[in-house]
């Protein structure tokens, strides 16, 4: 749904189109229909459309407070012990490549507890495990 919304009072007079300083409003007459168009990338949200509309049809509040648009959805890595969300799979790959090391799926809390376990085992005579190199 467009962020720019008009109510039923809009009569298609085009005052908003003619008075938009950012050229963010346009229209097309398609067959028997007049279609009002809005381009959010151009919109300066100056309120001139709302101010100028002789019908009081522009519901400008939708340009001030609106819902979140979903931009992208990516696979997520969670802590293998507690399930806390950590980062995306893609971010994990980037991080591993930069660190030249496989970053495990552990939250900070379990990362330190696992490290303590490794240290405890090493001190108990079991030795340090080999680090995985990416």
């Amino acid at each position: 749904m467009s962020h720019f919304q008009v109510n039923e009072k809009c009569n298609g007079c085009l005052a908003c189109v003619q008075n938009c300083p950012a050229d963010a409003l346009s229209f097309e007459d398609r067959g028997s229909k007049r279609v009002l168009l809005h381009n959010i990338a151009r919109c300066a949200r100056c309120g001139n459309c709302w101010r100028i509309c002789p019908q009081k049809a522009v519901e400008f509040e939708h340009l001030l407070v609106g819902p979140w648009d979903e931009v992208v959805s990516m696979d997520l890595v969670r802590c293998s012990i507690c399930g806390e969300a950590l980062y995306t799979v893609s971010f994990q790959k980037t991080l591993s490549a930069r660190l030249k090391e496989d970053v495990g799926a552990l939250c900070p809390h379990h990362r330190s507890s696992v490290a303590l376990t490794v240290l405890f085992r090493a001190l108990s005579g079991e030795g340090f495990p080999e680090r995985t190199k990416g």
Binding site: G47, W50, E61
Partner: protein, 219 residues
């Protein structure tokens, strides 16, 4: 854009200390972009102002709101909903926004949380620098796109003074000489002739010397 710097927290706390409920109102345009007055900064300021160490008595309660433009009187009137228990508005807008709020809500004290600082631009991440004094008679066509009214400490219009050394201004080693920059830019542009042109004395009445300025559309 208009750049504003936060006022010291103790100064703001002193403003709000006499009130019980304060609306902290962010502005979503210039000061949001320079990271001092947007919704995020309004929430952070409200949190910071609840610290009991800032007051001799119980801190006020705060409610955060943000509007896209605090400098548009009719939009503020239509879209900013101030609750009846609000005793003061703490605005994170520039001075234009604060004064617009004061005009729209004449019964409520409107307090500034920022010092409106300059008209500037983002030169590098996290660094905004002053670019324009809004003098009302732009000379940039003759000066290679570098403003001597803003960047020269003496506002000289026809070349550097004797305080220019090694491209720096005498007021500080960290301040570049505006005319040194202008000459370099005009040289790069192959427009040394513009430097030779003598700019006549300015009529500073278009600046603040002529009192508060007004623009009407159409002129």
């Amino acid at each position: 854009m208009i750049v504003g710097k936060p006022k010291p927290i103790k100064e703001i706390a002193a403003f709000v200390s006499e009130f019980k409920h304060v609306v902290v109102l962010g502005c979503g345009t210039c000061v949001a972009v320079c990271l001092t007055g947007g919704d995020r900064e309004a929430s952070a300021l409200a949190r910071e102002l609840t610290h009991p160490g800032l007051y001799d008595h119980a801190p006020p309660s705060f409610e955060v709101k943000t509007i896209e433009r605090q400098c548009e009187r009719d939009m503020v009137k239509a879209f900013v909903d101030i609750p009846s228990q609000c005793e003061a508005i703490l605005s994170l807008a520039c001075g234009a926004g604060v004064q617009t709020l004061a005009a729209v809500f004449p019964q409520i004290p409107v307090l500034p949380a920022l010092n409106t600082t300059f008209l500037g631009a983002l030169d590098e991440p996290g660094v905004w620098r002053e670019k324009c004094r809004g003098c009302g008679d732009c000379l940039l066509a003759y000066t290679g796109g570098i403003c001597p009214v803003t960047l020269c400490a003496k506002r000289l219009l026809n070349g550097p003074c004797g305080g220019s050394h090694g491209g720096k201004c005498e007021i500080s080693e960290e301040v570049e000489c505006a005319w040194s920059l202008i000459i370099a830019r005009l040289t790069d542009l192959g427009r040394g002739d513009l430097y030779e042109r003598i700019l006549p004395p300015r009529d500073w009445s278009s600046d603040r010397g002529g009192g508060p300025r007004t623009m009407r559309y159409p002129e």
